[in-house]
Amino acid sequence: MDKARFMGRMAATVSHDLCNVLATIQQASGLLGDYLALARRESLKSVGLRPKFKYNDKFEEIICQVLTQVNRGQDMCDQLSRLAHSSDEGQDGADLALAAELLVKLSGRVAKKHKVKFLVMPAPMRCKAKATLVEVLTAMETALTGIAWECREQGEIVLAPGATDTGVHMDILCQGLSQPDVQSLVQALESGESGACTAGVIQGGVRLAFEKAGLQA
């Protein structure tokens, strides 16, 4: 876990510095926009004596693109920061629905690469696993990546948190998954290092079962 904390601290530092970089880009492009607006006003005031800046519209379009990317970067930084601090969390359990949302937001590149969409279903109740957030994310990421590969170009992969009397689980489902695919995935998951959950075969997908947090032994 010390390694996870170390990586978390490093990632937090990087994500925070990236926020400063984004803020500087945002203000610099905003200042360009301010000067364009000033030039437009001066042109209007001069009643045509001072012509409008020739590339005004193109500049505005570029500024808009920069700001869109800044917003995208900000969202990524927020998620990265959340991930970075995840090694400090989850000592009293990890919420599966929140973990799934975080993982999906961080896995945009995987979804794009395999041409699939990730969808997190709302949890029927609070599903808190007796594991750290890092352990939950590790298990879910391994399963999700494997399923995304098996289901590439086949539409939607659904993450559905749920609970029973004794445990909580995360079902990862895709209509394109065949039963042999699921079985080989489960075997691969079980041979992995994570002891926080057990993997099982269900109709159309994989179930990662965790011990429920807050239950007395």
Binding site: H16, D17, C19, A23, T24, Q27, Q74
Partner: protein
């Protein structure tokens, strides 16, 4: 709004200088410093109405500046603007009396709105205090000026 005395404190020089230029274009000129130490010096000699303060800076960090300024100059409204903030930082800053907590990057007009709101609250407090003082209740006036937000 020309009369707001605004202090911007951030060690990211490009960022804070650009921010100051954009504020000036919106008729809110400001003074810029790049460290916590410099911010404390300015507060001693030219108390600002509103301070926009970064948290993570070399030397005296933003949280320490917030703590010190709240103790010595409680009328200064402090807005935290940081790229380093966690939920714990936000809780602590609010407990210490920060007027608002923003994360970078932020839209200039949103920040300007917060600055104006902070200034209005400071002026309103001063007006209420003046009313108390006019009525001879100097202790009441002082209490209002020292009141934690």
């Amino acid at each position: 709004m020309n009369k707001i005395k605004l202090l911007l404190v951030d060690d990211e020089e490009n960022f804070v200088n650009t921010l100051a230029e954009r504020m000036k274009m919106r008729d809110v000129p400001s003074k810029v410093v790049y460290s916590g130490e410099a911010a404390l010096e300015v507060v001693k000699t030219q108390e600002p109405d509103v301070m926009v303060l970064d948290l993570r800076m070399p030397g005296i960090d933003g949280m320490e500046v917030l703590r010190k300024v709240r103790a010595t100059n409680p009328k200064v409204q402090i807005i935290i603007l940081t790229g380093h903030g966690t939920d714990l930082d936000e809780d602590e800053a609010r407990k210490l009396g920060a007027f608002h907590y923003h994360k970078k990057p932020i839209d200039i007009d949103e920040l300007l709105g917060t600055v104006k709101k902070a200034y209005r609250e400071r002026v309103e407090d001063a007006m209420v205090a003046a009313t108390f003082a006019q009525a001879g209740d100097f202790d009441g006036a002082q209490d209002i000026l020292n009141e934690d937000k």
